[in-house]
């Protein structure tokens, strides 16, 4: 089972360029048409589950707008199998 991850996209930096959208191997990012940043962009966000915390979106983001988290695998190992 792939590790679980999540991203937080900063409204301050995101310009809605969609490079993260195109790069995400899990295809779980999209621009959020509902929201508008102060600069007038629709920011990116996770629109479904499946983020693995691989960090690829952050690497390609020109605005270093994304913080990527991943579950701590050592923590997972501590949890009994099947949990």
């Amino acid at each position: 089972m792939p590790p679980k991850g999540r991203i937080i996209v900063s409204d301050l930096y995101c310009k809605g360029c969609e490079l993260c959208v195109g790069a995400c191997p899990q295809a779980v990012i999209a621009l959020n048409p509902e929201r508008i940043t102060a600069k007038g962009y629709h920011p990116a966000s996770l629109f479904k589950d499946g983020c693995t915390g691989c960090g690829i979106c952050a690497i390609v983001c020109p605005d270093a707008a994304i913080t990527v988290y991943r579950e701590d695998l050592r923590a997972r190992r501590a949890i009994p199998a099947g949990a």
Partner: protein, 257 residues
């Protein structure tokens, strides 16, 4: 998920300021910025790095990178960096230059900084046009490429051939590390970051001139979406500007190994 059980895979590096850049959405100048900032963070160089910004879209780099900076006249960043470095041999000095800046108006300065083996690191953003002034032809513009000053496509008969700066500088004995990388996909971005780190290593060891050429996009003036720009870069620029190591001094090779 409990944050106790999370690790941070990626966070904005400290060497970037908390400022939204003026770069167009999807412009890979931003990628180069965060890579440099990450490497400086990782190597712990922030408090002894001095950057030299150039004239081009990256003129305000000093607003975005969170360390000391000066700003050079168009093309003269290598000369200015020489001035800084000669006074402070122990600081880490970098220039950040566009292709118009470095390969057109600043050709003499970059060649001579390299020839002198000036112990600085040059980051050279090649986006095949003059972004800042609205997309004119650069020395790096591809044959046939339309720009606002080559409206019928660059005509090599009258407007000449693109300059491959890395290949040219690699002919100089003073140049220790000269490579070309690209910013168009995650894999290449990772390789670019490695090269940036090597460039700083070269400088820290006093091995002389290092330059990382980074193929970059200009969605606005190319009149493409950011995504298509990456594709265009890959399909059109890389064949003309092959990625690779053009000069790696033996001493540098040891670092890498």
């Amino acid at each position: 998920m409990d944050t106790q059980e999370e690790v941070i895979v990626y966070a904005r590096p400290d060497s970037l300021t908390k400022t939204n850049t003026h770069y167009c959405p999807g412009c890979t100048h931003g990628v180069a910025h965060h890579l440099i900032a990450e490497v400086i963070d990782e190597m712990g160089l922030r408090d002894r790095t001095i950057g030299v910004a150039s004239v081009g879209c990256s003129v305000f780099a000093y607003n975005y990178m969170n360390f000391d900076f000066v700003q050079a006249p168009h093309g003269r960043a290598p000369a200015m960096a020489t001035g800084v470095k000669r006074v402070f041999p122990d600081k880490v000095v970098l220039t950040y230059q566009g292709d118009g800046d470095l390969a057109s108006i600043g050709m003499a300065e970059i060649v001579h900084a390299a020839a002198r083996g000036e112990n600085i690191s040059v980051f050279f953003l090649n986006n095949a046009n003059y972004g800042m002034t609205g997309g004119q032809m650069a020395p790096t513009t591809l044959p046939g490429q339309k720009t606002t000053s080559s409206p019928n496509g660059r005509d090599v008969e009258t407007q000449g051939y693109p300059i491959r700066a890395s290949e040219l500088l690699a002919t100089l004995d003073g140049a220790s590390y000269v490579v070309r990388r690209s910013l168009h996909d995650p894999k290449n971005i990772r390789l670019a970051k490695k090269a940036i780190r090597t460039a700083f290593e070269v400088q820290l060891r006093g091995l002389g001139f290092s330059m990382v050429e980074l193929l970059s996009t200009c969605p606005t003036n190319w009149e493409m979406t950011p995504q298509n720009s990456l594709k265009w870069l890959e399909e059109h620029m890389i064949p003309y500007y092959p990625l690779g190591d053009y000069k790696v001094n033996p001493a540098v090779a040891e670092i890498k190994g």
